[in-house]
Symmetry: C2
Subunit: 308 residues, 2 copies
């Protein structure tokens, strides 16, 4: 038997027919032109049909969704999905009715971490911390072989751990969050602020009239641009502190690092590994394996399907 995995983002939805071992038999992607719950459910139904057409003979009886948003436990209710403009949408029930199948809705990072656990870089490890440093910063915890979702389903909010009391305003509305110094969106803002102030000359040269990106930040920092280096080192220091401290608390056997910022700034990824190990307690880091996420964008699709 196969299951259907859905990756629900803010601009598109992906569907895949997935084998029990994580193999994708067929997949499809639909742009979201409208973002009402009804329109999204309809787009998923279309994506499902297209994915199933690529996997003749598959018998799909359950559906798992990884959604970028805050969920109410395992109820299928999406409390807040900023990218979709949703609040309190009983999405799981709406989708189950449309598809005529049982549906489980989980957080997108939980789905991605589960995908890595079942078919990627975290296979075989019962205790895993998975951290994604992309536009935002998030994580998912697996302990005793099971996802740790917390009392309200919001465990793993590593991006909103505080690193500077009353510091920089984060997208979440609170101040001093890790994400406000290390997430891709905020790194771009920090670079723009430096450029607007006439600072970071090497970065300015690389960026020209375009929008700065993390790869340019890393290159400028390494070329000796002091202002770029300050932004880069701050991000490295805060990420190392928070990740190292979580290793101390959770004592995972494996730490999986993923997300666009680390992919595009490979030396930051390498430095982070050394720096976080220097922060973590000796007892907790002994035997820890640090690995890069292996499944890319497919991790959420695969994980959602296997959690169904």
């Amino acid at each position: 038997m196969q299951t259907l995995g859905i990756d629900l983002g803010g601009t598109y939805v992906r569907a895949a027919v997935v084998e029990a071992d994580g193999t994708i038999l067929g997949s499809s992607k639909q742009a979201l032109t409208e973002r009402t719950p009804e329109a999204v459910v309809a787009a998923i139904a279309l994506a499902k049909r297209a994915a199933e057409a690529e996997a003749p003979g598959a018998r799909v009886e359950r559906c798992g969704v990884g959604a970028a948003g805050q969920l109410e436990g395992d109820s299928g209710v999406i409390l807040v999905a900023p990218n979709l403009g949703w609040r309190n949408v009983p999405f799981g029930a709406l989708l189950a009715e449309k598809l005529g199948q049982s549906v489980r809705v989980v957080n997108d990072l939980s789905a991605a971490a589960w995908g890595e656990h079942e078919a990627g870089a975290a296979q075989g490890a019962p205790d895993v911390l998975t951290v994604f440093v992309g536009t935002g910063v998030g994580s998912a915890i697996i302990a005793n072989g099971a996802l740790v979702q917390g009392a309200r389903g919001v465990a793993g909010e590593l991006g909103h751990v505080k690193v500077v009391p009353n510091g920089r305003l984060c997208g979440c509305g609170e101040k001093g969050c890790l994400e406000a110094y290390t997430g891709g969106h905020h790194l771009i803002e920090l670079m723009k602020e430096a450029l607007a102030a006439g600072k970071a000359p090497l970065l300015a040269k690389a960026v020209g009239e375009g929008t700065p990106n993390p790869a340019q930040l890393e290159a400028a920092a390494e070329a000796g641009d002091v202002d770029a280096r300050a932004i880069y080192d701050q991000a490295l220091r805060f990420l190392a502190l928070c990740l190292g401290n979580q290793v101390t608390m959770l004592n995972p056997g494996r730490l999986i690092l993923g997300g666009g910022v680390l992919a595009h700034a490979p030396h930051l990824r390498q430095r982070l590994e050394g720096a976080l190990l220097a922060v973590a307690s000796v007892a907790s880091r002994t035997g820890l394996e640090v690995r890069t996420a292996a499944l890319g964008d497919d991790s959420g699709l695969i994980g959602a399907a296997l959690l169904a």
Copy 2:
């Protein structure tokens, strides 16, 4: 059927015959005059007999031990027990042979947290963070109704999360740990350092020729002693930061606070509750119940017995 719970400290061992609901039917305490594994095992056998004598009719077939030390998973091997001067002692096997019973050895804080979960302040909550601020600082995590012990069994080392890069030397040999600013042992050292420097006049008056304690620190800080206040506020700030950030990460439904420092500085306990909620993300703290540990010294005995 009843089980035997053992609380193994550095100076004494306690034993109790415990019902499945956590009721203690009989208990006993033996001083540890010698600290070799053989002597400790013999002391436990004595304590067991004395506890069983108080509980006629009990049928004890399993034994759980909460030990102050670092364990190798569920193997029963104690890797390091500083108070006993042990390294790599196959304690579970030695005790099982002596008692002729199956023995499970867990960390003392895990045992205490499990006791609170089964019969104390955390009853009925599947996702719990329990924090003890005593001579040392430690914690235990329960997620999905099960203890989170980590890959090597050392999860929950909250006292060794770093709060000041290259900061104050901690008893663990590393620098800048939470415990080095907030544990009872270090609070006393910080007070002694202030007194030796001729600072903290109100604290000096209260302490006289004795050893300062956390209750005196709180009283002096509240009476307006600026130097006592600095130590007190620093402890409050670091505890709030680390506990609040762990609430953000773990999203527990209940946070249990225990340990001697918080018991003897009740206003610190109250202030900590408000301050940590201000640090935690809104999503993670919504619905969080903060409670004081209810079982006192018995939590470890009860938890060890029920984990057997």
